[in-house]
C-alpha cells in the first residue's frame, strides 16, 4: 500500500492528514506491516473452507414486526450539532 493509496483511502474515510506531510508515509509503512502479517494467510490452502463473513458463532436473531415509538426524541435532537424546527440541519448541499 503506497502513499497514494493511503491518501485516497484517508480521503474516502474523511480523515484529514493534509497538514502533517509525513503521516501518509508513516501509515503506509505501518499498514504494510499489518498487511504482511495478515498476508501469511494467503499461504494456507483454503480450498475446502467456505468463506466466513463473521467471527461470531451466534445465529442471527430476527425481531417481530411490531412498531414501538421511541419517546426520548429530544435527546436525539440534542445530540445533533444543529437541530431546528423539527429538522436536522447541515450546510447546504448543491447537487
Amino acid at each position: 500500500m503506497d502513499k497514494n493509496e493511503v491518501e485516497k483511502t484517508a480521503k474516502l474515510a474523511r480523515l484529514n492528514f493534509s497538514e502533517q506531510e509525513e503521516i501518509p508515509g508513516d501509515f503506509s509503512r505501518q499498514l504494510n506491516k499489518i498487511l504482511k502479517y495478515i498476508g501469511q494467510l494467503n499461504n494456507l490452502d483454503t480450498a475446502d473452507i467456505s468463506p466466513m463473513s463473521q467471527p461470531l458463532v451466534k445465529k442471527l436473531k430476527l425481531a417481530d414486526d411490531t412498531s414501538r415509538e421511541f419517546k426520548n426524541k429530544e435527546e436525539l435532537a440534542n445530540n445533533a450539532p444543529d437541530f431546528k424546527d423539527g429538522f436536522y440541519r447541515v450546510k447546504k448541499i448543491i447537487e
Binding site: 414486526d65 411490531t66 436525539l76 445530540n79 447546504k92
Partner: protein
C-alpha cells in the same frame, strides 16, 4: 434517428419499500410521510453503540417478492456496509447486501419477452433532504425503511419496454401485497443503466446511469432522451462518458451529476453487527404457499376459460382488485357463455373503467358493484334491454346506486320485443311516411334505415332494433 445502426441496451435497478409495520433494523413505525423526524430512534439515527436487529416480516416479504419473480432464494445471505458520506445517511454507511444477496436469478415476461434478473437483495432506505437557502434540512423518518432492490440483466431493449417492465413488477408486487409500489410516494424507485451498441455487436457500449425518474412517464421520457443524446454523440464520432446523469423532469433533459469518481468507491465489507441471514427450506416453503395466483397465470386461465383476447385479459388482471371484481361479476351472470363474458368484459374495461378514471376512484370504491354490473349484462343478453338502454341505465346505476332491474321497472325501460306490438308500430310508421315508402318502392332500399330511426325515436329506444328491422323488411316486401 438512425435506427438500423444502433440498438439500445437497458438494465434497471428497482427499489421497492416492503410493507412492514416497523423499520428494517429498529422498531420505529414504517409509514409514509408524517411530521419530520417523528419516527426516529437511536438505531435509525446511527447513535454510537446501538445494534441493528432484522425485522422478520421484512425478510418474509423480501422472500415472497423474490419467489414471485422466480428467483432462487439463497439459504445464506450476508449484510454488508456500503460506505459513503451524505447527510441522508446518519451512520455514514448503508446496510445492504453485496457479495451474497438474498436471491439470485429469476425473470419477468414483458409482452411475451423474457427479461432475466440478476439478483434481489435487501437493504435499508436513507432519509430525505430538503434544500433551502439557509441550508439542507434532513428528515430521518424514511431512514431504515426496508427495501428490496431488484436488478435486471441488461436485456431491456427500449424505453417503452422499460416502463412496461416496471408496470409488470408493480402488478406482481401488488398481487403479493409486499409493497404499494407507488412511484409518486417513492415506494417504488428506479435507476437505469443505458448504453447503445452497433447492431449485431455482442459487447456492451459505455453506459450512463440515469437517476431521479419519479414516474413511469419519467422513466420512458428520460430513457428516450438518453437514446437520442447517445445516438447523436456516437454519430458525430464522439464517445460516451461513463457517468451518472439526473433526469430533469421540467426541462426534459438528463444532466451530468459531475460526481467525483470516489462516490462509487463504497469499500463494502461484511456488517460486523449482523451474523449471516440463514433461512431454512421449510421457511421458504411456508412463504411460497402464501403466493397468490400471479397476473401472468391469471391471464392464461382467463384466455382458456373465457376465450377472451390476451389484451382484454391483460387489462382485467393488471390490478388484483380488478381481477377479483371481474371474477365476482362472472359469478353473478345468469349465463357464462363466451359472448356474455365478452360483453361483461367490455362493460368493465370500457364503461366502468372510464367512469372510475373520471371520478378518480379505485375499483374497490366503485359506485357500481360487481353484482349490479352482472345483472345489467344479463338483462342485455336475455334481450330485456338494448345496448342503448343499458347505457342509460348504467348512468342511473352510477348516480343512484340502484340495481338495473329496479331501474328498468321504475323507468319503464323494458325493450319492446313482442311481435304483435312491433308489427303494429311498423305498419303505422310505413303509413305515416309515405314519401320514404315511395322511395323504397323506387328501389332505394337504404331508406329503411330512416324508418328504423324514426321508430327508435318514437319508442324512446325501447323497440328492439333488430326485430324492427326484420319486421319492416317483411312488411315492405309484401307491399312491393
Amino acid at each position: 434517428m438512425n435506427k438500423e445502426k444502433f440498438e439500445t441496451v437497458i438494465g434497471l435497478e428497482v427499489h421497492i419499500h416492503l410493507k412492514t409495520a416497523s423499520k428494517l433494523f429498529c422498531r420505529c413505525e414504517n409509514i409514509f410521510g408524517g411530521k419530520p423526524n417523528s419516527r426516529i430512534c437511536p438505531i435509525c439515527t446511527g447513535q454510537p453503540g446501538v445494534l441493528p436487529v432484522i425485522n422478520k416480516e421484512a425478510v418474509k416479504l423480501a422472500i415472497k417478492a423474490s419467489l414471485a419473480l422466480g428467483c432462487r432464494i439463497k439459504k445464506k445471505s450476508v449484510f454488508a456496509r456500503k460506505q459513503y458520506f451524505y447527510p441522508d445517511l446518519p451512520k455514514n454507511y448503508q446496510i445492504s447486501q453485496y457479495k451474497l444477496p438474498l436471491a439470485e436469478g429469476g425473470h419477468v415476461y414483458v409482452d411475451g419477452e423474457k427479461i432475466n434478473l440478476t439478483r434481489a437483495h435487501m437493504e435499508e432506505d436513507a432519509g430525505k433532504l430538503k434544500h433551502t437557502a439557509a441550508g439542507s434540512l434532513v428528515d430521518y423518518n424514511r431512514t431504515g425503511t426496508p427495501l428490496l432492490e431488484i436488478v435486471s440483466e441488461p436485456e431491456i431493449k427500449s424505453p417503452d419496454q422499460a416502463a412496461r417492465y416496471l408496470k409488470i413488477l408493480r402488478s406482481i408486487f401488488r398481487y403479493c401485497e409486499v409493497s404499494d409500489c407507488d412511484m409518486e410516494k417513492g415506494s417504488m424507485r428506479c435507476d437505469a443503466n443505458i448504453s447503445l451498441r452497433k447492431k449485431g455487436e455482442k459487447e456492451l457500449g459505455i453506459k450512463s446511469e440515469i437517476k431521479n425518474m419519479n414516474s413511469f412517464r419519467g422513466v420512458r421520457n428520460a430513457l428516450s432522451y438518453e437514446v437520442k443524446r447517445q445516438t447523436a454523440e456516437l454519430e458525430k464520432g464522439g464517445v460516451i462518458v461513463q457517468e451518472t446523469r439526473l433526469w430533469d423532469e421540467k426541462k426534459e433533459v438528463t444532466k451530468s451529476m459531475r460526481s467525483k469518481e470516489e462516490a462509487h468507491d463504497y469499500r463494502y465489507f461484511p456488517e460486523p453487527d449482523l451474523p449471516p441471514l440463514e433461512v431454512e427450506e421449510t421457511f421458504i416453503q411456508s412463504i411460497k404457499e402464501t403466493l397468490p395466483e400471479l397476473p401472468r397465470v391469471k391471464v392464461k386461465r382467463y384466455m382458456k376459460r373465457y376465450n377472451l383476447s390476451e389484451y382484454d385479459c391483460g387489462v382485467l388482471t393488471a390490478e388484483k382488485e380488478l381481477a377479483d371484481f371481474f371474477e365476482k361479476a362472472v359469478d353473478g351472470l345468469t349465463k357464462t357463455d363466451e359472448a356474455t363474458v365478452k360483453t361483461l368484459t367490455n362493460w368493465i374495461t370500457v364503461e366502468l373503467s372510464g367512469k372510475l378514471n373520471v371520478a378518480e376512484l379505485e375499483i374497490t370504491r366503485s359506485r357500481i358493484s360487481s353484482k349490479m354490473i352482472a345483472e345489467l349484462v344479463s338483462l342485455i343478453e336475455d334481450g330485456t334491454i338494448s345496448g342503448k338502454m343499458a347505457k342509460k341505465i348504467f348512468e342511473i346505476m352510477w348516480d343512484k346506486q340502484e340495481s338495473p332491474s329496479d331501474i328498468v321497472e321504475k323507468e319503464g325501460m323494458k325493450q319492446i320485443t313482442s311481435d304483435d306490438k312491433i308489427e303494429g308500430i311498423c305498419k303505422k310508421t310505413i303509413e305515416n311516411h309515405s314519401k320514404i315508402f315511395k322511395k323504397y318502392l323506387s328501389g332505394k332500399e337504404g331508406v329503411i334505415g330512416a324508418l328504423v330511426g324514426s321508430i327508435m325515436k318514437e319508442t324512446g329506444g325501447q323497440a328492439n332494433p333488430q326485430l324492427v328491422n326484420s319486421k319492416l323488411r317483411e312488411l315492405l316486401a309484401e307491399k312491393k
